[in-house]
Every structure is written in C-alpha cells, then in structure tokens.
C-alpha cells in the first residue's frame, strides 16, 4: 500500500496531468486512510498547480491545460473540504482581484486567482468588468494587502490608472500593493500608471505578492 508521501505526490501529479478522476480518487484514498492533514493542501494541491503554472510559463502548457489542471485541483479540494472544517490555515495575506471595467474577458484573471489562492492567500474575486471604486471599496472592507488588476484588452487598460488615482485621492495608496497584469500590459505601462509591480504570469504574481508580504512584515517589525 502506498504511503502518505507517495499519495501526496500522486495527487500533485494527477493535477499536473489534468486527471480529474485520478485526483479525486487519490484524495479519497488519502481521506479513507485517515491521513488528511492541512499540509496536503500545500504539498499536494498547491504543489500541483504550482508545477502546472510553471509549465505554462515555460510554454509547455497553455490555457486549456491550466483550466483542466484547475478542474483536477478543484475535484480533490471537494473531497478534502469536509475534513477542513474548523482548521482553516491562517492565510498568508488577502488579495483583491478583478478584471477592470470595460473588460469582460476574465479567463486570465481567473487563472491568476486560482494560483494565488492555491499558494495560500485569501482571494476576494470581484469578477470581470469591475469599476475602480469597487476595487477600492473591497480592499478597504476586507483590509486587503494587495490589489491585483487584470486587463486583456488595450481598449480598457487605461482604466487601470483610475484605481490608483482613487487610492491616492483617498490618501490610502500606501496601504496596498498594486499589481497589474494582462496581455497588453507591460512593466513600463505599470510604472506609467503608478502601479507597484507588473506580473507577466500567474506564477510571477505569486512571487511578487510573496515579496510584497515579506517586505510588509519587515516594515511592521521595524515599526
């Protein structure tokens, strides 16, 4: 019989391999053996999604593959969910994410949201076609750490700047890290509109948000 470590690895691999039924079966084998523990979320599910997004960055996987990996991750999470009650881990931070108003494409944003969530963050997904004031209101309400704004279209990207201007107007710009991304967005565009960082991929978004949280903690310690 497989050990817990072997099953955990098998689960991550099933997610990478886009095997929805296999991911579900392995998750069941883990819970049936009484081996469920919270670290499976990171070592099994997040590890699988992390590898999948790495394959995407390397040009080996494309969006259909990533969506199928996410389906497998979701199937395994569904099996684990009843066992997670009351022992939700402390999230690494809170990220408010959405596709800027005028943009009804949300596929890229959805994938980034999944990968950030899999990496251990609480994700408040505002959906698509989100007005600037909704980003700011949600960030304030949730006491978020990071605002992530996506745009897939050149015809709506200029409205990303509205979010930053609104934060500045309210005098709360320095409360949040602002990360922008999406097909037409570039690092120079991000600088131009006053965002903190540009993320070229879901994996990059996680690395940038991790860095931001690290820096924020150090600042708090210093204070």
């Amino acid at each position: 019989m497989a050990t817990k470590e072997e099953l955990t690895h098998k689960l991550a691999q099933a997610i990478v391999d886009m095997e929805v039924d296999e991911a579900e079966a392995v998750a069941k084998a883990i819970t049936d053996a009484g081996w469920f523990s919270m670290d499976l979320l990171e070592k099994g599910i997040a590890a699988g999604m992390g590898q999948a997004s790495q394959y995407y960055e390397d040009g080996e996987y494309f969006i259909p593959e990533l969506l199928s990996c996410a389906d497998a991750a979701e199937a395994a999470t569904d099996v684990f969910r009843p066992y997670m009650q009351g022992q939700a881990p402390e999230p690494k931070g809170c990220v408010v994410i959405g596709a800027i108003c005028g943009d009804t494409h949300d596929i890229g944003k959805n994938i980034v949201a999944l990968v950030i969530q899999a990496a251990g963050y609480e994700v408040i997904d505002l959906g698509r076609d989100v007005p600037a004031q909704d980003f700011v209101a949600a960030a304030e309400r949730e006491q978020a750490d990071v605002i992530a704004i996506a745009s897939l279209m050149t015809t709506s990207m200029n409205h990303m700047a509205d979010v930053i201007q609104l934060l500045e107007k309210r005098g709360i710009r320095d409360r949040y890290g602002v990360v922008v991304g999406g097909k037409p967005i570039s690092a120079s565009f991000a600088r131009e509109i006053g965002a903190d960082r540009y993320a070229a991929s879901a994996g990059a978004a996680v690395r940038i948000i991790d860095e931001w949280m690290q820096a924020k903690k150090q600042m708090q310690v210093a204070e």
Binding site: M18, F62, I63, P64, E65, L67, S68, D71, C101, G102, D103, T104, H105, I107, N110, D129, M153, T154, T155, S156, M157, N158, H159, K183, P184, I185, S186, S188, F189, E192, I193
Partner: protein, 337 residues
C-alpha cells in the same frame, strides 16, 4: 512621385516599391480626441452607419492621415447577430458580450438572415459610405472576427477552451458556423465596397492555445475563409506567434498583423527561405508607446520597426481610446522622415 494612401498600401501589400513606408491601423483606432474632432462618438457610432463612417473615415483618412480606414471598433457584432446579449460600453468603452448565445451541447447554425441582424447592416453601410467618400484616396477595410474567435464568442472562452481539450468534436460545429458567418460577412463587405478585409482572430493567440491546437483548430478555418475572399486579406492575431508564423503565412493571408512580441527578423528570414511574400504589419505597442509614450518615442518606435523589417506600420493591437491624437499622428510622421 507622391502616392495616394491607397496606392502606397496596395503596393506595400504586393511587395512593390512605395514613395515612403505605409502606415495603417489594422485594428480599431477610434480615440476620445478623434471623437471630439469628428463630432462622432461612442456609443452612438457603434450603431449608426453615418457616425461610424465619419469617425472611422474622417478620423482615419483626414485627421490621422492613415493609408487605410476601417470599421467597426469592437468584436461583438457577429456574436450579437448570433443571439448574444450585448452590454453597451457607454462613451468610454467598446460594447462587450454580457451573455453568450449558446451552450456547448447546442447545435449551432448560421442564421439565413445573418446580414440583416443587429449591427451587421450598420457596419456594411458604413463601409459603403467610407468607400464613396474616401475610396479614391485610401484603402477601405471591413473588419471581421476569425472563425476561431467567432466560435468561442458563441459559448464563452472558458467552456470553449476546456472542451477543446476534452471533447474537441463538440466544438467543430461552432467552428463551422464561425467560418460560415465570417465568409458571409466578409463577402458582404466586399459587395459594399471594401477593398480589403481584416480578420481579427485574437483568441487564436498562443497566449491562449498551443501551436498544435492553432494548426488543427484555427489555421484550417482561417485558410478556407481567406480563400473565399477575393481581395487582399490582413490576418491579425495577438501575442507571441513565433512558433506559428509560417503556419499563419500558409493560410494565404496577404499580410499578417502582429504585436511587438513577435520576432520580425526571424519571421522574415523564415518567409524568405520558403519563398513566401506575406507582408508583416505592426508592431507599435499600443500600451508602452502609443498610450504612454511621447510623439518622439512613437517616431523612434516606427523607425525601429522599419529597421527590423516590418513592411507596413500599424499599432500592434487595438488603439486604447485615451491614446493622445498627437501620438497617432506621430506614427504617420515617423514614416515621413
């Protein structure tokens, strides 16, 4: 001898000499300043042929000074005519799809009265007005979606991409309808007076799908569409396309419109080795240069694009509507010196 924009672009598309590099905007170029200058604005210009012809025609030919003018501005006309619910973009945005007309298990069909539906007649009429007013000076281009992009606008990109992976047979009927719709729309533009057709197959980008899927599910339909259109055809696809540039050339497109993510010198060399004459259009960045750069930076970007072998200058994708008019004019000025 100075050429008209029309002569210049037709020569550039045919690989013949021109008096100076040709400048167009393969995708939409309406900006807020252009709306003020022409008195024709969104959202009205999306649904009114006269306003569409004024914003695109006067704006493109007279004010910016492009060698070609095009309509429409958004990529939702086909989806609307196929039954999608459309959300107005108001003054500042283009219309978008609020609700897709089909589900994956539906059997889609191309309506017999497609050409009379929604804004299709508006776009056709706008093209005929533009041809009447500017047809002797500039090239008039009708814009359609590619079969792949029309197909996924029918059910939504996420279910489409998932199905592409798991049950590709289910999406074939949608691709067939996408092809039929695009053929009808393109043919009708030509009858209305269009000199050229721009196919925007933005969803067939390698940002979305693999080269393998591009070859099996996008390119064959593009090829059949292009073969059915008896005028020069520009095929625009977004993103980094290096792995499929030869495949795109093999669709038979007269020219390929690309973003700056594409390695133009490498593509030109690959084309030369195969003896392909396909022109490359691009690749001035709509965000980094046109929206946020200075006119000087725009001119430099034009010079740089020409140095890298770009045949016809154009923004690499749709122009952001808040783009300064001075930058759009600088794109033309950059080709003068």
């Amino acid at each position: 001898m100075s050429m008209t924009g029309r002569e210049r672009l037709l020569n550039a598309l045919a690989g013949k000499p021109t008096d100076r590099p040709s400048v167009i905007s393969a995708c939409q170029y309406a900006s807020y300043e252009l709306m003020d200058a022409t008195g024709a604005s969104w959202p009205e210009a999306h649904r009114d042929a006269e306003l569409m012809a004024t914003l695109s025609g006067k704006g493109g030919a007279e004010i910016i000074g492009l060698d070609a003018i095009r309509a429409p501005y958004c990529q939702t006309i086909e989806a609307e005519a196929l039954g999608a619910k459309i959300k107005s973009g108001g003054k500042t945005h283009i219309p978008s799809i609020a609700e897709h007309p089909c589900k994956l298990d539906d059997t889609p069909e191309c309506p017999a009265d497609f050409l009379e539906r929604g804004r299709v007649p508006v776009a056709l009429k706008a093209i005929s007005l533009m041809k009447e007013r500017y047809g002797d000076q500039v090239l008039v281009m009708g814009g359609i979606g590619g079969p792949f992009s029309i197909a996924n606008s029918m059910i939504g990109i996420t279910p489409f991409l998932k199905a592409m992976f798991k049950t590709p047979d289910k999406i074939k009927p949608f691709l067939e309808v996408g092809l039929e719709v695009a053929k009808k729309f393109g043919q009708a533009y030509i009858e209305a007076g269009a000199d050229a057709i721009v196919i925007e197959d933005m969803m067939a980008s390698l940002d979305m799908i693999s080269p393998k899927n591009f070859r099996t599910l996008a390119a064959p339909y593009e090829k059949e569409l292009i073969a059915s259109l008896d005028v020069p055809v520009i095929l625009h696809i977004c993103g980094k396309l290096d792995k499929v540039m030869l495949d795109i050339a093999e669709t038979g497109a007269t020219a390929i419109s690309v973003e700056s993510a594409v390695d133009v010198p490498a593509a030109k060399q690959a084309f030369a080795e195969k003896g392909y004459k396909t022109a490359i259009i691009g690749d001035i960045s709509p965000s980094g240069v046109l929206l946020s750069g200075t006119p000087e930076e725009v001119k430099e970007a034009v010079h740089d694009a020409l140095k890298r072998g770009v045949d016809i200058i154009s923004p690499g994708c749709a122009v952001a509507p808040s783009t300064p008019l001075a930058n759009l004019k600088a794109m033309v000025a950059g080709a003068l010196d």
